[in-house]
């Protein structure tokens, strides 16, 4: 009834053409988790997700792999309800991982937060209700594995502080945002979104137009030169929006 106020679906999305999925191996999946990323074909990710939905391997369950795969599938899905459902499934995998002994794995907390943020993005009350949880999970990820996904915890936590309602209404904090995002670009200059989000914060928090333009240019260079798979097109749109705002 109330778009944006309805609860997010927690039912697993239907996956198709699973009959031609290769036989998966727990050992193989655990030994090369990073091979499942933005460049992996969608059907391959769906095969892996289907396997992970049904595995009873305790090590796999306690890992961040399932949550990671769900996020990659969610990010490339255009249809919003399906995207939210995949992201919520990713949250569920991460919660199960934590309950199964994965609490000290920074990746588990990182992908939990990333999926949760994606799931609640368009739901105002649920986003507000989960702000503290998002902050907590990202802080844990930063403490346990700050370098995952090329400075992902720095990038996402910094963006959370940038986007959230500021004090006294919420946890938003321009100083924290700038500090974290600056570290992200310094420690992981290879990731284009580190530069994009830092540019956005420089512009909106500090009105540093010149520095924002510099970061925009650096980010575009990294976007052009890297292998970003399915993320490249949506990221190009985000860069274009900031460029427009900067009058480029």
């Amino acid at each position: 009834m109330l778009q944006g106020c309805t609860r997010i679906s927690t039912q697993n999305v239907a996956l198709s053409n699973l009959s031609d999925c290769p036989k998966e191996s727990e050992t193989e999946l655990l030994s090369h988790p990073l091979q499942y990323n933005a460049t992996t074909p969608t059907h391959r990710l769906e095969c892996v997700l289907n396997f992970l939905r049904n595995t009873s391997d305790k090590t796999l369950i306690a890992s961040s792999l399932a949550s990671q795969v769900a996020l990659h599938l969610a990010e490339r899905t255009q249809e919003r309800p399906r995207q939210e459902a995949l992201a919520m499934e990713g949250v569920g995998f991460a919660e199960k991982a934590i309950a199964s002994g994965g609490a000290n794995d920074g990746g588990v907390h990182y992908y939990l937060a990333a999926n949760l943020g994606l799931a609640v993005r368009d739901h105002v009350t649920q986003a507000a209700e989960n702000l503290s949880r998002l902050e907590k999970e990202m802080q844990l990820a930063l403490k346990l594995n700050p370098d995952i996904d090329s400075g992902g915890p720095l990038r996402l936590l910094g963006t959370l502080y940038f986007k959230a309602p500021p004090w006294p209404t919420g946890i938003g904090d321009g100083d924290k945002a700038l500090d974290l995002l600056k570290k992200a670009v310094e420690q992981h200059p290879e990731h284009p979104l580190n530069h994009l989000f830092y540019a956005q914060a420089l512009l909106e928090v500090d009105e540093q137009t010149s520095q924002a333009r510099t970061q925009l240019a650096k980010g575009l260079e990294k976007l052009a030169s890297g292998q970003w798979g399915y993320n490249k097109t949506p990221w190009q749109h985000e860069f274009a929006e900031l460029a427009k705002e900067l009058g480029e």
């Binding site: 109330l2 105002v124 507000a128 004090w167 909106e204």
Partner: protein, 284 residues
């Protein structure tokens, strides 16, 4: 809680503007204009959120789905432009913009938020304890805060035309109060002007030095929903007021009210704002 926080509620809940003026056909959504001057909100993101939350009020007021379309701005000039071009019968603005635009758009207050048991707030000028004793000592000093997006409002209403902040102080406006308070703590600012919500939350911050208020404004009414008296009827204003008054009792509406500390919305009249109108006019 101050008017800006109240405006945040309306950003989130997409408080509605109805216009039944001839300029809008039955099939065309009525424009919803929400003005949040100086707010730390991205306009396009706020508009996206408002579009979803408009449905809350439509449901409460028993309007058909998609009766309204939203137009949000955090820029005062853009707000003036939207009020002129969209010609809404109802609007949500700051008190400053209401006072400024009231004559041209025949604006009439309809509903106010109640926050912390009151429909008013006070502004306070905060300094490090013991550093300054009065306003005279702050002449020419560095003063920060989030409230200077509307300088006329601060001059005429907060300081009651006794001083012009733009000339009296060296202003260092900020979009986030927490940054201004940190700057104060580091002696990068001499004072910060806080609204009611910000002052009441000071205890939640861990700053190095104790602070005190050396100036406290008179009670200022919180701004809420306004109507164009000439393009709305009494029945329409009443319907809108009733819908808003039930917002915080609605399960979904209550979540949004709780987010921003709004306890309820109360019908109001022009009489409540008459002293403000007088002060505003004295400052011309």
């Amino acid at each position: 809680m101050n008017q800006k926080a109240f405006l945040e509620v309306f950003v989130a809940i997409s408080c509605v503007i109805i216009t039944l003026s001839p300029a809008h056909s039955a099939a065309e959504p009525a424009p919803v204009v929400v003005c949040y001057p100086g707010g730390p909100i991205n306009d396009s993101e706020a508009n996206n959120g408002m579009a979803a939350m408009l449905r809350v009020l439509e449901h409460l007021g028993q309007w058909p789905d998609q009766t309204f379309s939203s137009f949000f701005t955090s820029n005062a000039d853009e707000c003036r432009n939207l009020l002129s071009t969209k010609k809404p019968a109802f609007a949500i603005t700051s008190l400053g913009l209401f006072l400024e635009e009231r004559p041209e758009h025949n604006l009439l207050p309809i509903v106010q938020p109640q926050m912390r048991g009151t429909t008013t707030e006070t502004y306070r000028l905060i300094v490090k304890k013991g550093k300054f004793q009065n306003l005279d000592q702050l002449k020419g000093k560095l003063v920060g805060g989030t409230v200077f997006e509307e300088p006329d409002f601060i001059k005429r209403i907060v300081f009651r035309n006794h001083l012009d902040p733009a000339n009296y102080f060296q202003l260092k406006p900020s979009r986030q109060a927490i940054r201004a308070l940190r700057a104060l703590d580091k002696d990068e600012l001499d004072a910060v002007l806080l609204n009611g919500q910000q002052f009441s939350a000071l205890g939640s911050l861990q700053l190095g030095s104790p602070l005190e208020a050396i100036f406290t404004s008179e009670a200022i009414p919180l701004m809420g929903l306004v109507a164009n008296e000439k393009s709305s009827t009494a029945a329409e204003r009443s319907r809108f007021a009733n819908a808003l008054s039930s917002m915080c009792s609605d399960p979904e509406g209550k979540k949004l009210c709780d987010l921003f500390g709004v306890e309820s919305f109360k019908p109001t009249t022009i009489t409540v704002f008459s002293p403000m109108i007088s002060l505003w006019n004295q400052g011309k």
